[in-house]
Subunit: 199 residues, 2 copies
């Protein structure tokens, strides 16, 4: 089976409309609080399941990833924790709408979720993720990273307390500042061909 | 399109038979010699196209990658340079046979080449590879990494002057000692499910 034909359409950053919306509660400011919540929830629900989306735009015919910056140093992809039993794709759509859609809950964005680009495992109650999981380990969290095909000219809301950055692949690649998940995205996208569509 | 169902069968290392065969010429001992050959060939043939294979075995239900060790520090995947105009899949089969098959050219190994796991670009005549290529750049080399599905119990010849190692994913992951191509393989395999088949 060949995957050479995988194509992503990207549209100029300037073709999107960004507006500020109500702020979102962000529970991840403190690593310690997050890990203690992970431990508590694990004892109740078992392994945490998370989903995150890679949303691409282009500038000068080069791909950029939309990244939330929360506080001074935390960078993360849009996404979050699935509900118990929730489908991954449906859950990611719910999370993307919660982050980007208008405050009006009647407005349903039609998210196009594509390939799973990477899977990350958290074997311990700490901050280290691995792209594999030994069968002897009971992982505490599993995060799946999905490619999201954006359409041209969409309106994206940004919670008032977040910043939304467009970061080029060359800036993310192997750059410890962004953490393992974000700094691995260029590698996980390398087999895709980008179809940069001009306005 | 979902890729969650991607499965690789792996068989125990002990199910394979390894034997020593005639030595292969290895032109890559010296980085300087390699780069000067790259520059010369580029002026004649244009961009170098290379293909490499990820061959997996298992030990204790965990995936290991077959890696050549050449000299004291050079680790590389089996593969090599394509001929001008040569098909990638056919070229990788030719290279794998040249490395692993019996000296008897009548013996044709039936290689099963699967997904392309990663693409690496060399924008300059130096040792640095990137998983993307800006459209303004004329790359000097493009290397494609393919997953190869091994069958159980195959006989693999190892050139007398090479060592063949089976390296677990946790040893390769993010480990600078192996270089960017090898140390990225665990990330590029993370969306695959391993079906570890016992003898």
């Amino acid at each position: 089976m060949m995957d050479n034909s995988r194509v992503v359409n990207t549209y100029p950053l300037s073709s999107y409309h960004f507006y500020i919306k109500d702020q979102k509660t962000e529970k991840n400011y403190s690593v310690r609080a997050r890990l203690s919540r992970l431990r508590l929830n694990y004892s109740i629900e078992g392994m945490k399941r998370s989903v995150e989306g890679v949303l691409l735009v282009q500038e000068h015919n080069f791909p950029y990833v939309l990244v939330f910056k929360i506080g001074d140093t935390l960078h993360k992809l849009p996404g979050g924790k699935l509900r118990p039993g929730e489908d991954e794709i449906e859950g990611l759509k719910r999370k993307l709408s919660s982050k980007f859609a208008r405050n009006n809950p009647e407005h349903q964005q039609n998210w196009q979720i594509r390939e799973c680009l990477g899977i990350w495992w958290r074997p311990n109650f700490d901050n280290v993720l691995y792209p594999y999981c030994d069968s002897h380990i009971q992982p505490k969290e599993c995060t799946k990273i999905y490619l999201v095909q954006l359409s041209a000219g969409e309106s994206l809301g940004v919670p008032e307390n977040f910043k939304l950055l467009a970061v080029p692949l060359f800036e993310l690649h192997d750059n410890g500042k962004y953490g393992r998940v974000l700094s691995s995205i260029p590698r996980q996208l390398s087999t895709f061909r980008f179809n940069h569509i001009s306005p």
